[in-house]
Symmetry: C2
Subunit: 322 residues, 2 copies
């Protein structure tokens, strides 16, 4: 098979590229390198079965060209600046909705019949059912990021229904692991490199998440691809348990062998649109035989170890913008 992977130089994208190559596929990557990193494609770039287009998916012609001769698309590119969405009110629309439409329309014109899409558990909003199943209640969207992902999902489903495309939509919990350079683990490790004696935490630390290692996430996508027979197939992808942020903090500091003073930001969510609890019912995936290989603690600790071994990731970003 010949796969196009968007966001190929990103966190989940680069792992997907590596895995597809290891499985013997041809892979075309596309990335703008705005947030993607060349280093993440170091292994892939040595493969004769990999090629990379550096380009902006917002440009339809670029997308149409990248889709030539492709059998299926892993659409993993997205705006990664989730927390600061309200500072850039147009970005999620452009990068998550219009770009997804560009992919879909290019697929239609090229006759590509399969798309795999990385959506987010955030579309369940402040979920009332926990763990949340795929057909949970239609929630009020609380952030531009979740709104844009729900919008992208909706267009993917409409294209699947209208034009005979098979869609796999993955609603991802907090994915962590090697190459993770966003989110709380990255932010906390960076802080603790700078001042090992104290840690500032947004919010009151009570949010609950179900961290999943990126390799388990890629496993889930590839297993689902073998089994998904409907026009539109939606899968929750999260770990089978969840923890409070304070637990994750204890694993991070323990792994770093530090005992910082923790300064919490106060009551309420960490930022506008952050859900108090994200815990997915992933039984649709486990019924196919999927099981996470790493538990929450192991996944968090692996991420910390990777970041300790790759301090170059911390350079060049302003404080707090992980």
């Amino acid at each position: 098979m010949r796969y196009l992977v968007t966001g190929a130089a990103g966190f989940i994208g680069s792992h997907t590229v590596d895995r597809l190559l290891a499985d013997g596929h041809e892979v075309i990557g596309i990335d703008s390198y705005i947030t993607g990193k060349r280093e993440f494609l170091a292994n892939a770039s040595t493969s004769p079965h990999f090629s990379l287009t550096v380009g902006d998916l917002f440009d339809f012609t670029t997308v149409l060209e990248a889709c030539e001769g492709v059998d299926a698309v892993f659409h993993l590119a997205a705006n990664t600046d989730v927390r600061y969405g309200t500072d850039h009110p147009r970005r999620d629309l452009d990068q998550n909705v219009i770009v997804t439409w560009n992919i879909l329309e290019a697929m239609r014109r090229r006759g590509i019949k399969t798309i795999l899409f990385s959506s987010t558990a955030s579309i369940y909003g402040d979920a009332t059912i926990l763990p949340t199943p795929e057909d949970g209640p239609l929630a009020i969207q609380t952030s531009l990021q979740s709104a844009s992902k729900l919008a992208a999902e909706a267009f993917i489903a409409a294209y699947a229904n209208g034009y005979g495309i098979r869609a796999l939509i993955f609603r991802l919990a907090s994915i962590v692991g090697e190459r993770d350079s966003h989110g709380h683990i990255f932010d906390f490790c960076r802080q603790l490199r700078k001042h090992p004696d104290r840690l500032n935490v947004l919010g009151d630390g009570t949010v609950r998440r179900s961290y999943l290692d990126v390799a388990d996430c890629v496993d889930a996508m590839l297993l689902a691809l073998q089994h998904a027979a409907s026009p539109v197939n939606v899968f929750n992808v999260g770990s089978l348990t969840n923890c409070q942020l304070t637990e994750s903090i204890s694993w991070i500091t323990s792994e770093l062998n530090l005992q910082p003073v923790i300064e919490f930001g106060g009551p309420g969510p960490a930022w506008v649109g952050s859900s108090p609890v994200i815990f997915l019912d992933s039984s649709k995936l486990t019924s196919l035989g999927w099981q996470p290989k790493l538990g929450l603690e192991a996944a968090v600790r692996r991420t910390v170890n990777y970041l300790s071994a790759n301090p170059w990731l911390f350079s060049g970003l302003p404080e707090g913008r992980a």
Copy 2:
């Protein structure tokens, strides 16, 4: 109050304009006249409290200018070409999503704190719960129109949550009544004007709908506006009963005093993305005191009478593109 009404020369838009003027408000209308009709604003145009901008909401500058000095926005403009959505895969994204974002962003910059939005019951997809409540299951979208409306809803909610805007989202059942120039009543009346002895019906006639008169719809929006206190307020707006399409056909032909041969198009939905049953649970509205003044049959018959009295509406459109 000073209201901006988008799609002011449209079906629901022009009724909203008339009602707001009758209630003593200032109204600024905006319409591109692509599907809106000057005749629908004949009364409004005589009012010193009404002004109209002819312009395209896809142009952000136009929207920003139209929003000057406005207290609240009725965003009722939309792509009306629902049935043929798959022929124009970009139109719903442009006219329903990007335009809605333009409205929201203009509101944010102008400090406008209230938006009322006409969404659609179609976002419930092939609903499994009937009548369908507002927090029904998140459905797989079956058409570009429903996808784009769900996307618009999501961005409205995210703006409400992120920027302190109050949103009222109305998921409308099939709205009919005077000035209705889309949908099955219009299509059937036009056919029967041309050949009174036969009627071609898309699909097998078994779809069920809950037709609501447009005046009852406008009543619902204005009543909800008085009571909606949350940042995001979602209301189903449909009649309290439903009927099969064949019943509506019998009312239409009876009102026209005709007995045509009915030719059904065959099994399945009328077109790709058409839901087999749309029946909303509107109890959130009725608990506020709302009750439709017209039943389904009266609403359908009123529409037929209006169309008989206004044959000019049938000119200029190619067959079957109602």
